[in-house]
């Protein structure tokens, strides 16, 4: 990425840059740390053509949130058997299309969805999503998806009775999960569910560990990830070996872990202004990138920021995006970001670790601003 940035110092900003070798590096790292779990890449974190192609070459499988992601994958040569339709709530027409395209693996968390799948994708493998508490994660991912253990047992039995393969139990411990213990706790619940199902002649074959592996520490992140990804791998493997019966396969659905560190957003300073704000002297730096054209996750994430300024003193700085929306502001009240007081119009800010979800949250044309350009190295 450095080479690209150095070779193109005047490229119009804002732009998004993704490095495929870093994608590969993160993928390999994860496979090494969790060799016992097949990888289904969560495309929602970054569904750029080049990213899908590289991961397909490396043998990754793919988790799709929608029929649109499935179409994209298939168009790029991913075999349908390597695609899991991971959204638990799907339109009838989308299930039917996926099935006809050869996708035979579906997530669910309700009897209604099972009935749809049984009718439109008969005989498919289905995985029931178990609810988690999301503790220890930046994004808990609770409430909307997943069911309590008792419900999971009933739903898996129902799946079996409908002629589907009651194949797996899936869960998501939450995004940027800082505690490997979250997986162990949930695997323990899965083990109990499997035992109860086995007693009723239903034999799940798979645990889907979800995603949420923290790939790095965001700036300003007070909670430390407990150990690195190999530590996570060990804790999870131990839990699997100790708690689950023989013959249960593991898969995972990483997104952010693979893509975050592989991307950056480069923005330019349009204006620097010190002004009283609600009576308090405040440093404002207005950029050509903001929450609605690439940096939506700045609400929750403090991207490590690199500037071209090596002089000056770091002072607290509020960043603002280019739109007329007063919400298009980053690091205003909740979080504090410190940047050189010498920063001036024309300087550049590079938001690193921005390879996940920065592109996909971009708006179509809020205030007329187009989605940012993407470059791939």
């Amino acid at each position: 990425m450095h080479h690209f940035l150095e070779a193109n110092p005047r490229l119009e900003t804002p732009f998004f840059l993704i490095d495929l070798d870093l994608i590969e590096q993160q993928y390999r790292l994860l496979r090494e740390a969790l060799p016992f779990a097949a990888c289904y890449f969560a495309m929602k974190s970054n569904s750029s053509t080049a990213v899908i192609q590289r991961l397909n070459q490396l043998g990754s499988r793919f988790e799709a949130a929608s029929i649109y992601e499935i179409r994209r994958c298939l168009a790029l040569g991913v075999p349908p058997r390597d695609i899991h339709f991971g959204n638990t709530i799907k339109k009838d027409s989308h299930i039917l299309e996926a099935y006809r395209l050869g996708v035979h693996s579906y997530a669910f968390d309700s009897s209604q969805e099972l009935e749809k799948i049984a009718q439109l994708a008969p005989g498919s493998n289905v995985s029931c999503r178990l609810a988690t508490d999301g503790k220890g994660a930046v994004w808990g991912l609770c409430r909307k998806f997943g069911r309590d253990p008792d419900d999971v047992v009933e739903l898996m039995k129902y799946a079996h009775s409908l002629g589907l393969r009651a194949y797996g139990i899936s869960f998501h411990t939450g995004s940027q999960q800082r505690s490997a213990g979250a997986w162990r706790r949930t695997i323990e619940i899965c083990a109990d569910i499997i035992q109860r199902l086995n007693q009723q002649q239903v034999y799940p074959r798979l645990i889907n560990l979800g995603g949420g592996f923290p790939s790095y520490q965001y700036a300003g992140d007070e909670m430390q990830p407990q150990g690195d990804i190999f530590e996570y791998g060990k804790v999870i493997k131990t839990a699997v070996d100790e708690l689950l019966p023989q013959g249960i396969d593991c898969v995972m659905e990483p997104g952010r872990f693979i893509t975050a560190a592989a991307g950056l957003v480069k923005a330019t300073v349009i204006l620097v202004l010190d002004k009283a704000t609600d009576g308090v002297p405040t440093r404002w730096v207005y950029l050509d990138a903001g929450r609605f054209n690439g940096l939506y996750e700045s609400v929750d994430v403090e991207y490590p920021i690199i500037t071209n300024r090596t002089d000056g003193t770091a002072i607290r700085t509020v960043l603002a995006g280019p739109t007329c929306d007063s919400d298009d502001v980053m690091y205003d009240r909740d979080r504090a970001v410190f940047l050189p007081d010498t920063l001036t119009q024309g300087d550049s800010l590079i938001f690193t670790n921005a390879g996940a979800y920065s592109k996909s949250y971009m708006t179509v044309d809020f205030n007329g601003f187009p989605p940012m350009q993407e470059y791939v190295v």
Copy 2:
């Protein structure tokens, strides 16, 4: 709109429907209520081609948040003299392009921006944005834009000294402003600024009243708009007559008032589920439209919702969008929405009063979902 919906009951959802006659009706209503203020339509609320064309036919002028909106306007035949570049922070290249295209009216709120405009768009009309407290509004629009009165005086003098026409003072009392008194309070401050400027031989000619006129009451809106738009018109006209010196023109920049009531989003129920959620029995209705493909403002706005169900009892309902994002949920904890308990898969929900900002906030392809289709009647 009813005719279109009845004639196309099976049109694939989600879609966005805009009614140009309602756009015209709202525009005329506003012009009648505030005949003393020229109208600059804030395109950011809905920059559909057909909306711009209809308002251009009606003689509206246009407020642009970006060079991209200016290009769109000009391509549709809007004369450049009818365009105001209302973003106070602009890229050099965008000022230069606007000026070359014949746009000679610019907003600003800093000396840095003035220097840019003086250099790149010499002799132009400039309007300085005054900060407001945003009290009484759904969206306060404070902090990011606008300056204190003392700063406005200095900046207007500076504009004059740079050879620009220190033309106007602009403000925005906040979006969906429920109190006409907010305008009176701010006009009082403007009057004081003008008096101070006149004493120093600087003579502004214009007050820009901004937008924020509440066009209707959102469902669940506890604060009542104080009177209708004619009441607002009277209060503002009285303030202008009583407080401002002779010869000061007024303009306004309405967006939501013109577009909100003229649009709707039609969505389909994908699945209805009663499940324990954090231990509480909860009714979930999963839709094909959500926060990231058309209903972003549901965070702040309770759209009046129409369903095809006339039977059943209204029960508290959490709505969820189609993506795998657990934030893609509407009316979960903060706000309560009540819908028929008979609602079932395949039913339709029509979010009315959704003509403003629903399209522009849509994401490019979050989770692979495309922006929703737009229809115009």
